[in-house]
Structures are given as structure tokens and as C-alpha cells.
Amino acid sequence: MIKINKRIVSEHGISEDEFKLIKEILQREPNLLELGIFSVMWSEHCSYKSTKKWLKTLPTSGEKVICGPGENAGIIDIGDNEAIVFKMESHNHPSFIEPYQGAATGVGGIMRDVFTMGARPIANLNSLRFGSPKHPKTKQLLSGVVKGIGDYGNCVGIPTVGGECNFHESYNNNILVNAMCIGLVKKNKIFYSIAKGSGNPIIYVGAKTGRDGIHGATMASAEFDDHSEDSRPQVQVGDPFMEKLLLESCQELMKEDAIIAIQDMGAAGLTSSSFEMASKGSCGVKLFLDKVPCREDKMTPYEMMLSETQERMLMVIKPSKKKKTLRVFKKWGLEAAEIGVITKTGNMEIFFNNSLVGKLPIKPLADSSPEYDRPSEKPFIKFKKEAHKNFSIKSALIKIISSPNHSSKKWIYHQYDRSVMCDTYFSSEQSDSAVIRVHNSTKAIAVTCDCNPIYCNSDPKLGAEIGVAESWRNLIASGADPIAITDNLNFGNPEKKEIMYQIKEAIKGIKTACEALNYPVVSGNVSLYNETKNKSIFPTPVIGGVGVIKNIFRSKGLRMNEGDKIFIVGNSHGHLELSEFNRICNKNYGSPPPLDLKEEIKNGTFVRNFMKKHNSIVTGCHDISEGGIILALAELAIRNKKGLNIKIPSNIKNSKNWLFGEDQSRYLLIVNNEDIIKKVAKKENIKLQKIATVSGDKFCIIKKFEISVKKLIKYNSIWFENFIEK
């Protein structure tokens, strides 16, 4: 038996204080297996020890919330006995080390979180952040991640309908891969992970356990250094075919009255799934590890408990349905085994070769994990000083639309099956949010991912507020009523005061905006230690927003027709600090645009109601965000292959500020009747400005410049292919 010493404790990422606490809980020294279990259960990844104190402050309930954070995923009510299950989760660390498998297993993991609850996944999205295109690794990481996401979702047959992909040097050595999944479930057929009933069997199903991914959760809770790539064996390998079989077999079994509790074996595998299920149900567990299906010979209890082999599920079932359960899994060719039993003891008792090899109290381990109030301090932000550049309006527009962040993402989304399941009405290149029909109905779900790390770096609270507001706006622009969000908080090392400040401020920002917009947080994920050799990523709290559309045909997307008029809803002040325009001019300093949540609500409510009441007048709608009015208009022209005659209002003195300013709470509404919108806006005291007419095949700013839409499309479409094929 290995004697536990200081070195072993620290290698498990456990601090001295934490080790003391472990000894207090156990009233003795742990053995290696037990120490391993503590280390994964108390890792940042599983325990949220640095953030839990702040996450608790977020608004998580509401009229439409069926299940908030704490379960496998959040659930909202969409009426007609139907509910939407959704969550976003990061797979940042593994994707940097092994981009294809890292991203693929990220998608697999989030889909399991959703279908574990009884839902059928209906759409996947992802939010990706890569380093500078000039960084030698970026190309390979981009290709690998996109292929990994595509291959996994395509094989399982769930459409990947949207997301975002951006490049910035702060991600050079820590890319971000955040995967989001939404699923549809009948309200009375939701499954939870609360284990119950002494004597009930615990069934393991899915892939056989191997030595892959041992301590993956611990890896995701440490900074990278020069040797990080040596952790490649900690990255799991994905098998989407196995996932498809698990999905279909679980759906089949869920029709029977067999499952009491179910949870996927994700991070920290068998350990976290068994502990969490037992803890929620306040019961005990006996596990017989000899029964665990193993892929490799001579696996030790330590390895079995900590393995992160993918595509595995753990469930507690009714004893009377054991035969039926095993029959269903056999039909699908899946390995299933009874590996344990629920007890009343409140303890986890682990047996191997007929002897007790570990015994741990479940509640203290799962619930009394450390909670830190880490010190925080506002960082002093050093801005890179570079010589300023000057651009004309035309050259700035061309520069922005042909830049990596604003180029057409066709190269990416063509690799994603967006049409399987036949319910994709708009994928995210066609509309501000993706719009997915609720099968067999005219209802639809709108879904979007948003974050502006440039804003968040300068002011994490305001940046996070803007992220929430933008997702809300994107849903409204697609004709939806926003309902709730999931968040994926990506930051550096929380043990550093400046990073902790960013985390706390960002959570405050999310709280402020979500409370104001009545837009609760129903699920989420935290990814910390995204830093390498002391250099952290920009704070990146990604918001995944979900809304409901009563009649899918009222969702208009980014459409416009010849002769339509385009109006700006909201106030334009010309805020250029931290805008795309200032950034191409090398002016990387300043504050994000101010956000007035009252105005956000006012403008959003106007657009939402106008689209509902005067639906036949509205051809399309687009929010104004990065790049300002001019980029929003250019995107419309490119999308529709149609020209625009744009007239800058005569009272505007500085047209660059006005065109490129990134003021918040604004929309472009494309309508075929200008009288009605003017009348309604006036009545409701909404700032409305006519800006353009859809006409011809040129993008023309009167008295400034014109360019053919064909040329714009060309500028917008070349970057990715050139970058990849170079």
C-alpha cells in the first residue's frame, strides 16, 4: 500500500489546508484511492470552489424555469407540455492539447448532459476563441477543432446550427471551445439525477472503461506550462457512434417506467456521477468495481474511479425493470452491467476483489467541498502603444469585413450538418440567432452565443452586461421572446487577485443584466486557469441565450427585399472606444460603450411588439453590434446579395463615429411600409431614424462612396480559405 506523503498530496492538486480538512472528515488518513477521489471531487472543475460564493448570487428562478443550476442541465417551460433543456460547457484545456478529440468530446459531453434528462438534443452551438492567425499553432487548432465538432455532431445526427468564432492573441496558448446543446423534452418525462431507494441496482452502460482521461478534471484546474502537451494521454477519445447508440437506447428505456435516476459520466467519471447522484438523494452506495466493464487489463480501483472514458452513463433503476433494461441495451449492442447498489448508510463503499478498498462519507465530500472567498483587486490594464493608423470609411469597411473576426464563416459552417432533423429554420448565418422548429409544431426556439472579450478586458462588469444584453437583442431580432441563459465563464487563474476581480465583476454584470431583463441563468459552467506561463486569456464570460417563437413564420432573419426601407431603432452617440474601427486604427484603449438597461428594455420591447403586431410589414431585423451601423448594413447587403442606398442624416457631424460607433441597444428594422413604423415609434417615444433603401446591386453611402455588393462579398469570403490553404 502506497503511503500518502506531502508530494503525493500536492501532485493531486490538494492544498495543505484541504488535506487537513480531508483528515477531519475521515477522522484518519485517506488511502491513495480516497485521495484521488477527493482530488477530483474538490478540483475547481467539479467543485466550483473559487466561484461558488459568487455564482450563488445569480438570479436562477422565474416563472418559466423548471430546473435551474445544479442538475445536468437547465430546463425551461415552453408551453404545451414541452420543455427545453440546455447548457453550455467548456473543453478548453483538452482542445488545446489535442484539438480534434478535445473538441469532439466536448460536444459529446454536453449532448449527454442534455439527453440524460430525457430530452432529445435538437441543436448544437459552439463559441470558439483562437489565438492570433499569425501564431504558428492557430491554423492547426482551428482545423482540428472545427473538424472535431463537425464529425461528432454530424455522426450523431444533431444539427450544429450556430455560434461564434473569433481570433485574438490573448488565446494564443489557451484556446476556448465552449459547446452548447439544446434538447426538447415532454414536461412530464424529465429525468433527474437524484438517487433513491435502498436496494435499487446501479447500472453502468456504454463504452468500456479505459485508462484515458485520468485526472482530466484536475488538468482543467491548473495552468499550462512548457510540458502541458505531455498531458496528451489525459485527453479522452470520442466515439460518436457509441453516443448515438447511448442516445437511442436511453430514449427507448425512458419510455418504460424503469429509471429512477440517471447521470452521465463526464468529468471525474464514475466518481462524480456516483457521488453526485447519491448526495442529491441523501443515500449511500456500494460499488463493486470487479463488475465495471474494462477495456484494458489489470485496471486498478484508482484508475476505474478516475477514468474519464467518454460515452458512459450511470443509472439507478427499479429492480423489477432490470431485465427489461438490460434487454434494451443489448438490442443496441451496448455493454451494460450492474455495478452497485443504493444503501441507507450515507457512505460510498468501494469493493474490489471482495475487499473494501475505500470508504468515504458522501455528503461531506460532495457538499462540504471548500468554498473560497479569494482576494481580488482591480488590475491596472496596460494598453499596447502602437502608432495610430488612419482609414477612410470605405477602406475601414473593407478592412473589417475581410478581417478574420468578421469574414464569412462559411468554411466553418459548411463542415457542420445544419439540415439533419429537418427543423432548422435559420442557422446563425441567416439570422441573429439560430431558429429551430419544435418538431411537429409551428413553434420554434431561438438560440445564440455571445461575448465581447475586448469589452470584458477593459471593464468585466459592463462587458458581461453587454454580453447578456446582446444575446437578448439577438433573440428579439429573430422574433423570439427571450426566456433564459446558460453561461460559460472562461478566465485565468483565480488565485491571482486581478483574475478574481474579473470573475467577480463579470458575475456581477451578468446578475445586473439578467435581473433587469428578467432573463434568469438556468445552467452554466466555469473554466478557470486558462493561462500559460503567467499570461491569462481575456475574461470571456460567454452567454448562451434561449428564446421562444410562437409562430415560426413570423421569424424573419436577415432578409430584405428591393424597395424596403431600413430604420435604426435606438440612440446613436458614436462611441468609438474599443470598437472594431478603433482597433484597426491601433487604438486599443478606452471603455466599452455604456449600457442603459432601461433603454435596452424599451427598444427591445418596441421591436418585439412591432414584429408581432405588424409582422407583414417587417421583412427582416438585425441588431447593431461590433462594427456599428455600417457593418450591420454591409452584412445585410452581403447576406441578401442586394444593394443599399444609405443616407447619413444631415445633422451628423462626424460620420465615422456615427457609422462605426458601437452604442448599445440598437436594431436595424427592415420594413416595406415606412408610415406605420414612424407612427408607432412616435407614439411610443422611440428614437427611430431612416437610414437606407434597398436598391440595385451597389452598397452606396450617398456623398461618400459606393462599392458593388459583388466586391463586398468577395472581400468578405476570402480570408478563411486563404488562411487554411496557405
Partner: protein, 229 residues
Amino acid sequence: MPKKVVSIVVFPGSNCDRDLDIAVQKYMNVNTELVWHDDPNIKNQEMIFIPGGFSFGDYLRSGALATKSPAMKEVIRLSKKGVPIIGICNGFQILTECKLLDGALIDNCKRLFICKENFVKIENKNNPFTKNIHKNVVQFPIAHAQGRFYTSEDNLKRLEDNNQIVFKYSSRDGKINKSENPNGSMNNIAGIINKNKNILGLMPHPERAINFSEDNDGISFFRGLQNLL
């Protein structure tokens, strides 16, 4: 009169079976039976569909493992008796792997999965599968990693001489050229039939072109198949 019943063979890893089932029932006015791959008997022999997806994960060659399924052995037997058989996407790959159709479907020229709307020209209507489609160019989504049709020059000539090439990737107005070829298929081939004209394989997905509008071209594809029953 009770509705006729057509069969859809489902493999572990099929993922277009539900979509196909809906399209067939709705627009062919029939009932369907989903036949699990290990069933050696196919009761309903009016018409058999092989749906898209990733049968057995397609980790080997697309469609290769599916050929070993008991249901496929039965499909092969029934095909010789003239039963109409339609394979879409992975179904087409399986039919070529079974040698029920000529050629092979290999990696797309850029070696990437590709999903997009594509125009497809109906190259000939001299067969029961396409003779009732009024349009000459239809729009169907494609979604595959291995859809590049390949065969020997001799075989290609034979396919052309026998009017076995049914669908070709094209422009909106039916022009066949390289720029409209999404995957590098020989002669832009998107779908072919066998010599006896009872087996059709195509890479594009007509079952994904029936939604949100009554003008969608998948509808006329499935309606047109009714004459085969």
C-alpha cells in the same frame, strides 16, 4: 382500401430514418415499417428505402459494415426480383458497397464534410424514379464527407450510354460545371440507377427539402415515387 406499406431499413447509426419516414408517409400516401438491421425478413416489399446517417459509425469505409447486416442480404435478394430500392446518402454508399450500384463514393475532394443547399439537375427522366418530377433542376441539401462519385472510365461510359446517370450537381439554371461540383464527383454525378432501373442511389437529401414551404422540391420527388407502387 388500406394504405400500402413501404420498408425503411434502419442500422445502428442511421440518423435520417425519422426524417425519411415523415417524408415518405406524408407525400407518398403510404404507411412505413422500420426494419431493424438484424431482421432477415422484410415483410413489406413494395419499396425499400435505405436512409442516411453513419451506419455502424462508418469508421471503416462508409457503408462497408452495413452490407453484412441480415436485412441487407434480404435487400440484395429482393433487388434481383425487381423490388424498387432507394438509397439516400449513406444509403447510396451502402448500395455501392453491396455492388447493387456501380462505382464508389470516396472522400470529398477537400477531404472535409460539406453541408449546403445544392442545385441538382435531373439528367434523365427515362426511369420510374424521376419521370414524374416536372422541374429539370431541383434544390436539395447535401451533407456528407464521402460523396465523391468515382468509377472507371469504362464504367462511366457505360453508365452514360445506358442513361443510368440520373442526378448531376448543377447551377440554378442547370449548367453542369466544375464550380457547381461540391465534392469533386466524376462528371458532377449526384445520383445513379442500376441497369434494370429498379435501384436508385443519390447523395443529396430530398427528405430534407419538404419543410417550411409547399414549393420545396423534395415534395415532388416523393410524390413522383407513388407511380412505382
